[in-house]
């Protein structure tokens, strides 16, 4: 029996404080294996104006490349205390701050491995459908062979690649539109 999908609507401006129970900017409590990283995502509208009322969500594999999910049946370790989900609002500077561990690589259905990446959902007032994108890591030699990046025009690939600043923090600006429009995915 076929059921009709429930349509999407905007998150609106007033989720903060009510969704706050579900916030988690620190994905990796002490003891979780892997390279600890700080991550700052920033959000801009089509005119380059920062978005102070947006919400980012992260979904990622652990440092071994294993998703904490029943459909990932590979024989790789799960880490106690690491679900792989993060959520934070943008602040007055349009930034959302996370701490996590660098994910391991995961396979591609047609064979081979994907480069390490974090899956990102973007929500905001004025955004009627969840925007899905990815974060990759600058300098990763696996980027050249990543099957998802190969689907993207070379000129737009940098919109998916976080860079490390002088303080060691990984930063990725997400542009909903404009000259630097981020690549979004229909998954």
């Amino acid at each position: 029996m076929s059921h009709a999908l429930t349509p999407s609507q905007t998150i609106g401006p007033f989720y903060f404080g009510t969704l706050v129970n579900g916030y988690r900017a620190d994905l990796a409590p002490p003891g979780v294996a892997g390279e600890r990283i700080e991550l700052v995502l920033s959000l801009f509208d089509t005119e380059g104006v920062l978005v102070p009322d947006g919400l980012f969500e992260l979904w990622q594999a652990n440092s071994h490349g294993r998703y904490n999910h029943p459909d990932d049946r590979r024989n790789l370790p799960l880490d106690a205390g690491f679900e792989g989900f993060g959520r934070a609002s943008t602040d007055a500077k349009g930034e959302a701050h996370f701490t996590t561990v660098r994910p391991g690589r995961v396979p591609w259905p047609a064979g081979g491995m994907q480069a390490a990446h974090i899956n990102i959902s973007v929500f905001a007032r004025g955004v009627l459908n969840r925007l899905a994108t990815r974060l990759y890591f600058d300098g990763d030699p696996a980027l050249a062979e990543d099957p998802v990046l190969k689907l993207v025009d070379a000129a737009r690939r940098p919109t998916l690649i976080a860079k490390r600043d002088a303080a060691g923090v990984w930063r990725l600006p997400v542009h909903i539109g404009g000259a630097h429009e981020t690549v979004f995915f229909d998954c």
């Binding site: 059921h3 609507q9 998150i11 007033f14 989720y15 990446h117 899956n119 009627l128 998954c187």
Partner: protein, 231 residues
């Protein structure tokens, strides 16, 4: 190429990102089409929030503070299903809404209507094995917004669901049946006409509790799996 695990929505189910009558969308919608991504483990897995321990009070928005909030007490219930009609067991639902006067417990809401010290308007529930969920709350009020002259949002409750995968994530809004403001609301109207009514809850006399609260039923349908030869 491997077959996708989750069905791809047909056209006409969701709003267009650029829905100009909703004035925030022109500066907040991508111009380039989304790139179709074959579904890998990254897309077919997702957070279940299964480790979250929910307090029973989280699904009763009328009992979270010292006293009872003002307004019309209601039951909002339904099932979380997928497109194949299968329940999504143990699905996490998050809701948030304004109070009976049309004011959110949020610093950004400057509408000249009273806050209710007994109502914050946020709740969570976990569906059972059959996908059934229930919230007790107060019927939210309509409120004005700046989108256009005399713009009012119809009464609504925001819903957030994860479903089984990154691909099934959904944030939506539930409306009340036959609200006259629906005809004037560009957010509701952004949904293609044939799909809009799915966002209206149904008045439910069967679940209405005598001498206590009216009930509304709102079923939520998330993306379903494609059939596989094993199923």
């Amino acid at each position: 190429m491997e077959k996708d695990t989750y069905q791809r929505p047909a056209a006409g189910q969701h709003p267009a990102n650029l829905s100009p009558a909703y004035k925030s969308t022109p500066t907040r919608s991508p111009k380039q089409p989304a790139i179709v991504l074959p579904q890998s483990l990254s897309e077919i897995t997702g957070p279940s929030l299964g480790a979250e321990r929910l307090n029973a009070l989280e699904s009763d928005l009328t009992r979270q503070r010292m006293g009872e909030p003002l307004g019309e007490r209601i039951v909002v219930h339904g099932r979380v299903l997928d497109e194949n009609g299968k329940p999504v067991p143990k699905a996490m639902l998050e809701v948030w809404q304004c109070n009976a006067a049309g004011r959110y417990h949020h610093p950004g809401d400057q509408h000249d209507a009273p806050l209710d010290p007994n109502f914050t308007g946020g709740g969570r529930a976990r569906a059972d094995e059959e996908g059934k969920y229930e919230f007790i709350t107060i019927k939210p009020g309509a409120y004005p917004w700046k989108n256009h002259h005399n713009a009012w949002r119809p009464a609504h409750i925001h819903f957030s669901l994860f479903g089984p995968a990154f691909a099934t994530r959904l944030i939506t809004q539930m409306y009340f049946p036959d609200d006259p403001l629906l005809a004037y609301d560009p957010i509701y109207q952004s949904v293609p006409e044939a799909a809009r009514r799915r966002l209206q809850a149904k008045f439910d006399i069967e679940t209405t509790r005598p001498e206590w609260a009216l009930a509304y039923k709102f079923d939520i349908v998330l993306r379903g799996r494609n059939a596989t030869p094993m199923e």
